[in-house]
Symmetry: C2
Subunit: 327 residues, 2 copies
Amino acid sequence: MTPANPDAWTQLPEGSPALACVDIGGTKVAVSMADHRGISGKVSEPTAKEGTRDALAVQIIRLIGESCLAAGIPVSSVGAVGVSSCGPFVLNEGLVELAAPNICGGLAGKARGLPNDWMSALLEAPLRAAFKNVRVENDGVGALEAERRWGALQGVSNCAYVTWSTGIGMGVCVDGHILRGKNGNAGHLGHTFVVEDNEALCGCGLRGDVEALVAGNAIPRRFGAQGYADASALFAAARAGDAQAIDIIDTLCKVMGRALFNVTALFDLQRISLGGSVFWHNQDYLLPRLQAFMQGKLPALTSGLEIVPAGLGERVGDLAALALVMR
Amino acid sequence: MTPANPDAWTQLPEGSPALACVDIGGTKVAVSMADHRGISGKVSEPTAKEGTRDALAVQIIRLIGESCLAAGIPVSSVGAVGVSSCGPFVLNEGLVELAAPNICGGLAGKARGLPNDWMSALLEAPLRAAFKNVRVENDGVGALEAERRWGALQGVSNCAYVTWSTGIGMGVCVDGHILRGKNGNAGHLGHTFVVEDNEALCGCGLRGDVEALVAGNAIPRRFGAQGYADASALFAAARAGDAQAIDIIDTLCKVMGRALFNVTALFDLQRISLGGSVFWHNQDYLLPRLQAFMQGKLPALTSGLEIVPAGLGERVGDLAALALVMR
């Protein structure tokens, strides 16, 4: 599905102001610049989680400067900043702050061992003080816009992009309209309940939500003691015929299958595109199992639904922020 | 919340063509007429479930004639027909047919004892052959439009109306846009999975979905043997202090609470309005329990969310079809 020359998409018309593309994850922050040459100057660091509540915003402003330097672009010529970020968001006087469980230590108490007690991290206010045009969206929305523009969701009016990665995220489009909701948090599939489980603790403080059960960061917590240090160890064992690993993955697929079924029933979708590191590196194993879960369940809702790998593959994250600000 | 003179809403401007309002439920079909005098001529019958696949549409066309007669309106002066119907819908050449579990016996096999083997019931095609302007929507969408126009959801851009009745239904509005999806089925909350249960059979053929667990028609199936013949018997016992009935209702509230939480996380809502016979007659008992379930869960998603009784109360269903066709 990926075209031969993906970089051509990212080239702005000659003379356009440069765009800064910021991707905020629970683990790392990446910044790159787009201009008529395409994307360049990518820099990244572990996400700032210590100090004052503006530490992350300060880091981003510094990284935009470093990315400009690396790309040979004067920071004064940055025309817009697109920010694709993990959530959830809270709004403070209309400006986005992050209440992200993998960043803010105040949300799940001390249980997750984060080095801060933030209930939210400042984001949009400091960025707007530094740059004129800033657009901040949930990373699910950014990825969805990228998949709709360049990937597997082109021309599909009712669709979702779901990421199965360190966390679980989603962006949804219904009737051609990309959903945001009151704080820009529509699509928080990771924080929904689909089975009974009162043990697995999510970073958000809930127990037994989808993210607590199947996300990449849940695998060592839940199955480390059984010898599976992370997702790749678990899938390697299953591929080698380890019955326990196969059982565990079947359980993960049931949770994710239910989550995708719920989404289908609630949004009445035509196509779901899947990405994220856990899915992407194991799509041959996971895709047929997820498709089989859906098969025959309430055909009025599921027939006509396609579940496909992300057209942009592992580049979805990189292109999400660009999709938010590119004309 | 209900204004003093609800009938004033339903009065069309003098000289407007009359509107036929059709409400299709799994148990009964009701038809009434609206003109400059308001709503009149209401007729209703048990939903047609025997004979050929057009039996329901034939019944509706006949009932529109009878309603016109009762209201003193010539059937030739009907300007539009609004149809608010239980779903799910399937589209056949762009026209709605019903694949509703409480109507079509073919969907859950013989398990539900319906007197037909229909996989879908004809609806929009025969109606359009008889009338010029026909608008068919999911009853969740109809009720939502009524609640947004006259009820508890006026002026709220991110909201849902949820009915807890014989079945479970929903209509959702995000960013001011009422969601439909590829076949007009967005909002099928009843057919989502929120807990583990492999026993309770839904009319749609699924086991353990929300509707199979908590809907009005699930109560006799699940708890009849324990002495609770229906929802009102169950709630009467709980109010009289019956510990078993209280436990059962707590479990129902947990399922419904999870369903409402999921909806909040997926659509990022400001307000959810609740109606339907099970909820409406027991709102003093249910509302505080549902609100308590939400309390403190992932505040970035739930804070600012209000859960309220339907502003239109038991009239939501009656006004849903009118809201679909009234200018």
